[in-house]
Symmetry: C2
Subunit: 351 residues, 2 copies
């Protein structure tokens, strides 16, 4: 067993606080990573507070994990001691269903094993996330990070990055297309960067006129303020693709109307019920409303390599682990540009 300092929530009501945990010793296919940075995803907050009603305690959140390889099992091939490495939202899957065999482990028919707030496969042992000193994971669920990258700003790529990269690739977003990214937060700011890097004409669609300037800085060609009904009416039927990063249920109808013939809007944030969709908004224009969740492990590595090649990382604001509860409060107010990342060196000061 490896004894690890960590921070955990003990219940829905308790703040994130110091916690000790034991990780398994690395097996023959495992990689042991000393965690250097961990991004703070909106879903960390929801799960820590049991907003989705499925929380398991004690919970060590964090699934945007980067660090340095400390040890590898005898059969590990892609990684060696000293490499920079990352772990995202999954640490295991069944590995034999059709999606797993296609490298789409996130859609595992039996359900992927999530990095935290889950049980290890075939065990009652809870999984524990990245708000901790170290993690041990099977090599298949570890990506290799090129040493040229700004590691702290790589962390959010493991969730916010792949969640936006994957649908833009799957729906073949590229040159000649007008693409909207709805919502400018952790996911949205990565969506803008990727859609731009793929060659699309990128429009930031936001409720907040104040976010326009920043959207342009991130790479957007235009800003469409969704509360400006005249601008929305003028934009009807003009978009090839919409990446919808809004993290809660909302009225998607005004966005569907923005799509041209055969256009698709893909949800990556809202797991909860949407306001009633008007069937006619799908039938007129043969539009699609779809969803997409993170990405498979081969595509996650592809995304990291793409980012290294194109100089793409997240815009991050560094925090100490001791400030995680304050960070959650700011997250609730969308007061972050655009992702908090915990400097795990701060954990040394923990009790």
């Amino acid at each position: 067993m490896i004894h690890v300092k960590a921070y955990a929530a003990q219940s829905a009501a308790s703040p994130i606080a110091p916690f000790s945990l034991d990780r398994r010793d690395p097996g023959p296919h495992d990689v042991q990573i000393d965690i250097l940075y961990c991004g703070v995803c909106h879903s960390d907050l929801h799960q820590a507070r049991n907003d989705w009603g499925n929380s398991l305690y004690p919970m060590v959140p964090g699934h945007e994990i980067v660090g340095r390889v400390k040890a590898v099992g005898a059969h590990v091939k892609r990684l060696k001691i000293g490499d920079l490495a990352g772990v995202g939202c999954m640490v295991d899957s069944c590995r034999h269903c059709a999606p797993c065999e296609a490298g789409l482990e996130q859609y595992c028919v039996e359900g992927a094993t999530w990095t935290y707030n889950a049980h290890e496969r075939g065990s009652q042992q809870l999984t524990f996330g990245g708000y901790s000193e170290a993690i041990v994971s099977d090599e298949r669920f570890v990506v290799k990070i090129p040493p040229t990258m700004d590691l702290k700003a790589v962390a959010p790529l493991l969730c916010a990055g792949i969640t936006t990269y994957s649908p833009l690739r799957h729906w073949k977003v590229g040159p000649g297309q007008k693409v909207g990214v709805i919502g400018l937060g952790g996911l949205g700011h990565m969506g803008v960067k990727f859609a731009k890097a793929f060659g699309a004409h990128v429009v930031m669609v936001t409720t907040s006129p104040g976010k326009g300037k920043d959207a342009i800085r991130l790479g957007a060609d235009e800003v469409l303020v969704s509360k400006d009904l005249d601008a929305m009416a003028k934009a009807k039927g003009s978009f090839d693709f919409l990446l919808n990063t809004i993290p809660v249920g909302h009225d998607v109808n005004p966005y569907l109307e923005l799509l041209k013939l055969d256009g698709a809007m893909v949800l990556v944030g809202a797991l909860t019920p949407l306001d009633p969709v008007l069937g006619g908004n799908l039938i007129h224009g043969r539009r699609s409303l779809a969803g997409s969740g993170i990405g498979g492990m081969p595509e996650t590595q592809e995304m990291i390599d793409f980012c290294a090649e194109h100089g793409i990382v997240s815009d991050v604001e560094m925090i100490r682990i001791q400030d995680i509860n304050k960070a959650y409060e700011r997250l609730l107010k969308n007061d972050v540009h655009y992702r908090f990342v915990i400097d795990m060196a701060s954990l040394k000061d923990a009790g």
Copy 2:
């Protein structure tokens, strides 16, 4: 002007009753058709009674029109006097937008001109549908019907047929796929026939166990009763494609859960608001909820030719025009197998 006997609704409250109308003389690109049969679509009833709040009176419903060519304009190429011909839901479109240029006139950016309950392009003249002796339409919006076909059973192909054929083609339904057709009515019975003809394994998904036997007769390989929660649970994640013919808003979530990775459900009936869609049902499995409306004119001709080649027509119940109001009442109770078709010879007896 051509003077034509017809049946019309004069208001939302009035029954369909005898009516006289004038059609334009055929211009150089027009075809004049003596109507022999006209199918009765659910939307006839909704529009006659102003259920959608957009009705224009007097209204001559009917957009599943077949008959014999009586006259052709000088520039008409595809049709000649004596040919069997059909007119569906559209009689015009802008003809220069991208969808029109692609032969997808139903998605015309300016809006197609519907066969009834619309205005002729650039005019205040109402369009009048098929509950009448004759119709005059531009050749582009007329299909040619092979003389080998059972004409009365061809009529519903012009709406119910193309509405189901087009999405099954667009989403490339074929051998090796498990395809569900949801709802066994005018659209659903054609969906089963086409999905089977395209080589898919076809499952009729219905609320009514009593419809199972008929679904098998129509070509379904299996029946899934959607009120049987155990059967629905067992079928989760097993469908490649679902054609949803339910004509009103409903809860699509139990159907979305039937789809496997990258599966799509396409709405062809419900124009009105759906019950709230759970975003997670789209995100898990990267599923799509889409819509599709009728088909373009080239595809409508392709569908007719496919039906002629494969011996496909609708199952029809013949009525006299004098019985149209009774037929509407039976439609409201889903008491038809599977489409009423008006024998327009009965119009000779009209006042």
